[in-house]
Symmetry: C2
Subunit: 193 residues, 2 copies
């Protein structure tokens, strides 16, 4: 059993990096292989070009890295995202991963009437995301954008039911002991079935 | 007076392209200069790298194209975005424009207590966005993600009050006459003061 972790943060001493290490360890402690997709290290290009759009219409991933990422994901039981929330939302790099990897023919198919046929219905998806906003304000005032995006627009659309959003709010302001506790939480959730 | 239009669509015969032409014309008919930032044509790189993040901390835009874009925007009275909504959200290219251009020191400053000081409070912002979801379902079920992002998280944070979100829903399914009507609407809104 394999856990794929999609990771993005431009600064390699960020709290996201600590979450990555904790999640990796949590997955391995649960007896799984942990396969990390580090989008910055890979110099992934998040832009949908004309060819990618044509590929989407034909149900075929075009970007070779996106294709490789999907091949790594399709055998996994758990897909984990780790990234910072900027401007209420996922960074461009992560949005581009969604745009170029979640394709018809990869995560789902559609029949002639437009009905979605899930291709990875049993994949579990978890999103760990850091921000400087308090999590309740993010949810109530800013409209829980990443939750709505990942749970409803992306993976919900593709027929994946088990999507968990785990926000870590006001990361710059919280105590060291809280940060340690959160890493244990990330490790535990990464190890869940 | 100048209107800056930030445009992204990988396919140059898209309905977004028609909206671009209508908005340009609407701005010019209102006696303004229309300055178009075509992110694909510019091969803009939407990724925040390590240097960009360091620049954010120092209140200094690093990417030369992002710097040039801000220089073009700061003298404008109206900033218009035109893009397709994918997966409930703006494409990576547009999110990267936000990530790299909306910086402290450009759109806003923050004092030592963290209080935001708007630097472009009188800029008017309009977002024209196409999607295949019906606009009411986008708003009520999918959580109006682009509205929350642009109105609250991005430009609201930067102290800009006049932010208008104009969604065009189910664009593939609507009649030619509706599409024509929408282009007139886009032209009219682009010409508003």
């Amino acid at each position: 059993m394999k856990t794929v972790i999609v990771y993005y943060h431009p600064y390699n001493k960020s709290y996201c990096r600590a979450i990555l290490e904790a999640a990796k360890q949590g997955a391995m402690d649960a007896g799984r292989e942990a396969d990390v997709i580090d989008l910055s290290a890979d110099s992934f290009n998040p832009v949908m070009g004309k060819e990618d759009l044509q590929g989407f219409v034909r149900h075929e991933i075009i970007d070779p890295k996106a294709k490789e990422y999907f091949d790594r994901i399709k055998g996994a039981c758990h897909l984990i995202f780790i990234f910072p929330i900027w401007w209420g939302n996922m960074p461009a790099m992560v949005k581009g991963f969604i745009d170029k990897v979640v394709f018809p023919g990869s995560f789902y198919e559609q029949d002639n009437s437009g009905k979605v046929i899930p291709l990875l219905p049993n994949l579990k998806v978890t999103i760990f995301a850091t921000m400087n906003t308090p999590a309740p304000i993010y949810k109530l005032y800013f409209g829980n954008q990443v939750y709505n995006a990942m749970k409803k627009s992306v993976f919900g659309f593709a027929g994946i039911k088990d999507v968990k959003f785990v926000p870590f709010g006001t990361v710059k302001a919280v105590s060291a002991s809280k940060r340690e506790k959160w890493l244990k939480k990330a490790a535990r959730i990464a190890g869940e079935r």
